[in-house]
Symmetry: C2
Subunit: 102 residues, 2 copies
């Protein structure tokens, strides 16, 4: 796993959010969240499987939920108590998967 | 998909809950919920993958969330507005997967 400073970085978080409107600040905590919608459950779970592989590789895991064709991903670094550079990195990686860019 | 009556069945639901203490009534709605805990994310997602295959086969999908090694599964039949025989059938199938019986 790459060595990235493990501390909340609100400036980086806010810069990311301003450039990526699909992601939002989670209401009541220092976390970012995004909802993804797919054609059906099969497509949604295929996406989840790819995210799971990225998460395991990064040793950084999302909080997420799924209902049929919808997936809600929330990212925050538990140990750090907020959104760190690792969350931003993961958000970008997940966004690329959702867009089919990877 | 087997033909099962698609209507809420509170008697069957309550009988299932009384025999399967790991499942509970979801607080504010006619749904049943259970939390599963695994050694790590990899084990948790392996379980989710097996549940996903069952769900697709049954054409009946859970609402679920995952945080690292924990998975919370909630079952209810959206179209019927409550817990039906299909949810009980799926709960049993999921329980067998979690116990490594299948």
């Amino acid at each position: 796993m790459p060595k990235i400073a493990n501390k909340p970085d609100s400036a980086r978080r806010d810069a990311f959010l301003s450039e990526n409107n699909a992601w939002q600040l989670a209401g009541d905590r220092d976390a970012i969240t995004r909802q993804f919608q797919f054609a059906d459950f099969s497509e949604a779970f295929a996406f989840m499987t790819r995210v799971a592989l990225v998460a395991e590789k990064m040793d950084h895991h999302p909080e997420w939920s799924n209902t049929y064709n919808r997936v809600v991903v929330t990212l925050s670094t538990h140990d750090a108590g907020g959104v760190t550079a690792r969350d931003i990195e993961m958000a970008k990686a997940i966004g690329r998967l959702a867009n089919g860019e990877v």
